[in-house]
Symmetry: C2
Subunit: 425 residues, 2 copies
C-alpha cells in the first residue's frame, strides 16, 4: 500500500480524494495496532532519519541554495536550514514521541445502567489529520510522529521552500515505518506543490478529519477562512499580564521581563502589560523592560511613568508584535483589567501577578482564555512546559481541545456498550 | 438587559450580530453563577411555564389552526400540538435538567511541574449556542435549559409553524429566569422568521460558538453544508446489527425485533441487519420481523431465507428508512460484516450479537462509530438511556463530543496555571 502518484492532469480535488482514501485505509491498520507496535515503528523511523543523514542534508542544501537565490530573509533561511545537530534533534524528538504514553484505548469513564448494560467511553484516533505548514522541515517528522503515536494517519503539505528537505525526511520516515509493517500511506506527503491542493485539502470534509496549520499568521488566517474541515490552531497570541495592586514588586518585575523578553517571537510572549493604578512599583517594572531594550507604547497614565514610553495608538491594544515592543496601560482595579482583557485578548494566554489569593482566583475563573495564569510567565504556554512531552500546536478555538495540544487532543472517543441481550422497553 | 428588537430594515447579519453580542454579554454573567443559582433559575423557569399554561396553550391553538389551514401532515401537527399534559412534561423536564450535576468548574486533571507550578484543566461553558429547530415547541424549553444549566447562553431559532407557541414558551422561561436575576438575553428567541437569519447564524463564526440543529435530515444537511460555525449533529442513523455465527438465537431474535420495531422513526433504529452465513437461526430472526409487519429487503442469500423478503436495490444499504422497512444481507464472518459496516454505516450506532467474547471485543474496537454495542438493541442510543439525564442531540462528528451529548458536551475547558513567581529559563 503506497501513496498514489498524481495522474497527469488530475484535478486537485481528485488528487486529495485519492490521497485521503489511501490515508484512511492505512489509518484503519494503525487503529488496530497496540501501543508497543506504534512505538517500535516510530523508533525505526527515528533510526532511518539518522541513517539518511547524508541524503537529507544534501536535499536541504538544495533548498537553502534555492532560497538564497530567491532572496528569502535570514529568518526564513534559518528556519529552513538543517545541519547534523538539528537533524539529530529531529530524530531524537521522534524517539521521544515514541516513548510518550499512548492515549488510544484509555477509558475516560464507565458506568453500569440499572438494566445491567455497561457503558465505557474509550479514546480512539481522530482519523486522517492534514498538516499544512511552511518552511520548517522539522514539522514533517514532528507532526508525523504525533499523528502516528495517536493512531492517526497524516497528510502532510509543506512549503515549497523546503520541498527537497521534506521529501528526503518523509522518504526516510516511511522506510522506517514500512520496516515495521506500517503501510506507507499512514504518513503521506502531498506529491505536488500546486497551491490549489491546499484549498482542496481545506474543503475535503468527510475525507480529512482535522487540519492543523503550522506557520505564520497569514497561513493560519487563510486556513481558518477557507476550511470546511475542523481546524486546530491559534491565529494570534495577544497575551496580557496584569500586575495587581497587591503584586510583589520583585515577582512582578521578573515575570514581566521574562514574559516579554525571554523570546519575543513566540505566541506565548506578553504583548500587553496592564499595571494597576494602585500598584506602587510600576516605575521599576517599566524601567526593567526599557533597560532591557524593549520599546514601550503606553496610554496617557503609562507614559507618565517614564519619559522613554511613547504614546500607543488605538490598534496597539490589538497587535501581536512578536518583537521587543510592548503596549502598556494603567488600569483601575481588577474589573478594569478584566474588561480590557475581554475586549483585546486573543484567548491564548493571560496572567495576573498578585499576592491576593481571592483576586487571583477571580482572574483565573473569569478570564475566558485557553490558558490563565497566576504569578507565572506567559512564556510557559507550551506543550513541553506543560508536561505533555510535545505539542502539535496551541489551540484557541473553543471546541475539542484548547491550549497546548499533544497526543490526547489528537484523539476522540467512542461509546462501547456491553449487554447480555437487553432490549429497550 | 433585554433582547434587542430588530430595527426596521436591519440586515440579517446585523440582527444576528446584535443578538449574539447581547447573548455573549449575558453569558459572561452566567459563567460567574454557581451551580445552585443556575438550578434556582431553572426551577423558576419551570414554575413560570406552569403558570403560563393558559397563554402557551392558546398560542399553540393558533399555530395548530394555521398548520391545519396550511395542510400540514398529521405527523407534523402531532409534533406541533401541546396540551396540558405535554406542557407539564416540558416543565418537568426543565426541573430535571436543573437537578442534573453541573459540569462547570469540574477539574478534568491536575499536575504539578518540577518548578512548582500547578496546572489544572477546568470545565467552562462553551459560550453562545445557536439552536436551529423545526416544529417541536418543546425544543425551546429543552435546549434552553441544557444550555443554561451548563452556563451557556442560547440563541433559539424555531420553525415558523410553532412561532406563537415558541414565543409564549420563551416569554415564560425568561420571566422565570429574570425573577432569579438572570439577564433575559441569556436565552434569546430570534424575533423574526426571516429565513436569511438562519444563514446569518450559520456563518457567524466568532459570534456564535456552536450550532445545534434539531429536526429532520434536510434541516441538518442544510446546516452542515452552510455552517462556518462548528455543528453538533448527526445527519443519518444508518444503524447495523450483525448477528454472528455464535449468537444465542433467542437473544438475536429479540434484539433484532426491538432494534427495528420498538420505534421505527428514531435515529437509533436498526436499518440494516447482517446475518452471518454460519448463524443457524436466521430464518427465525427474519420470520419474527416479517410477522411483526416489517418489510424486508434482502440480498440474494437473504431472499432465500423467506419468500416474503423482496430483493434490495443498491441504494437500500445506504438508506435510513425511519419506517418498518429493513435491509438484510447475509455475510461470511466478522471480516465481511466489518467491511459492510465500514462502507455503509453513518457512524451513529452499530451492534453485534454473539456469545463469543473475542469476536465481540474485535467488533467494539474496530467499528468506527460513535456508539458500538454488544448484545443490546441499538434503540438504547439515547442520552436518557445512557444515564446523562437528557440530551441536546446525538453527534456523529469526530471532534469534541460523540454519541449522546448532554451537559458535559456543552462545556469546554481552560488551563489554570498557579505559580509563585516562576519565569521560564
Amino acid at each position: 500500500m503506497t501513496a498514489p502518484l498524481p495522474a497527469v492532469g488530475e484535478s486537485p480535488e481528485s488528487l486529495v480524494r485519492h490521497l485521503a482514501e489511501a490515508g484512511r485505509a492505512a489509518q484503519r491498520v494503525l487503529a488496530r495496532l497496540d501501543s508497543p507496535a506504534k512505538a517500535r515503528a516510530l523508533h525505526a523511523a527515528a533510526a532511518a532519519l539518522r541513517e539518511a543523514e547524508a541524503a537529507i542534508l544534501a536535499a536541504n542544501v538544495r533548498d537553502v541554495a534555492a532560497g538564497e537565490a530567491r532572496g528569502l530573509s535570514g529568518a526564513m533561511l534559518d528556519r529552513l536550514r538543517l545541519d547534523a545537530g538539528r537533524l539529530a534533534g529531529i530524530a531524537d524528538a521522534v524517539d521521544q514521541v515514541a516513548d510518550l504514553a499512548d492515549p488510544v484505548g484509555a477509558v475516560i469513564d464507565e458506568s453500569t445502567r440499572p438494566n445491567g448494560m455497561t457503558l465505557a467511553r474509550v479514546r480512539v484516533p481522530i482519523g486522517l489529520i492534514g498538516i499544512v505548514y511552511e518552511s520548517r522541515p522539522n514539522v514533517t517528522a514532528d507532526a508525523a510522529a504525533l499523528c502516528l503515536r495517536s493512531g492517526n494517519a497524516a497528510l502532510l503539505r509543506g512549503g515549497s521552500e523546503a520541498v527537497h528537505s521534506n521529501r528526503a525526511i518523509h522518504a526516510a520516515l516511511v522506510l522506517g515505518l514500512e520496516a515495521e509493517g506500517i503501510p506507507a500511506a499512514a504518513i503521506q506527503l502531498v506529491p505536488t506543490q500546486d497551491r490549489e491542493v491546499v484549498g482542496a485539502m481545506l474543503t475535503a470534509a468527510g475525507l480529512i478529519d482535522m487540519i492543523v496549520p503550522r506557520g505564520g499568521k497569514s497561513l493560519v488566517a487563510r486556513v481558518q477562512a477557507d476550511a470546511r474541515v475542523p481546524v486546530l490552531a491559534h491565529l494570534d497570541g495577544i497575551c496580557h499580564t496584569y500586575i495587581h495592586a497587591a503584586a510583589a514588586p520583585d515577582k512582578a518585575a521578573a515575570i514581566a521581563l521574562n514574559a516579554k523578553m525571554r523570546r519575543t517571537g513566540i505566541c506565548g510572549a506578553m504583548e500587553t502589560l496592564l499595571l494597576d493604578a494602585q500598584f506602587p512599583a510600576s516605575q521599576a517594572v517599566v524601567a526593567g523592560l526599557l533597560d532591557a531594550g524593549c520599546e514601550l507604547r503606553g496610554d496617557a497614565r503609562a507614559c507618565a511613568l517614564d519619559a522613554r514610553i511613547v504614546p500607543a495608538a488605538a490598534n496597539d491594544w490589538d497587535t501581536e508584535y512578536l518583537d521587543a515592543i510592548l503596549s502598556v496601560a494603567v488600569v483601575d482595579g481588577i474589573d478594569a483589567a478584566l474588561d480590557h482583557i475581554a475586549r483585546h485578548s486573543s484567548h491564548h494566554t493571560d496572567a495576573i501577578v498578585t499576592e491576593d489569593a481571592a483576586t487571583a482566583e477571580r482572574f483565573l475563573t473569569e478570564v475566558d482564555s485557553a490558558i490563565v495564569m497566576h504569578n507565572a510567565s506567559t512564556q510557559f504556554a507550551d506543550g513541553g512546559e506543560f508536561g505533555l512531552g510535545a505539542e502539535i500546536g496551541i489551540a484557541t478555538g473553543r471546541l475539542h481541545a484548547r491550549g497546548p495540544v499533544a497526543l490526547e487532543g489528537l484523539t476522540t472517543y467512542k461509546w462501547q456498550v456491553r449487554g447480555s441481550g437487553q432490549t429497550r422497553p
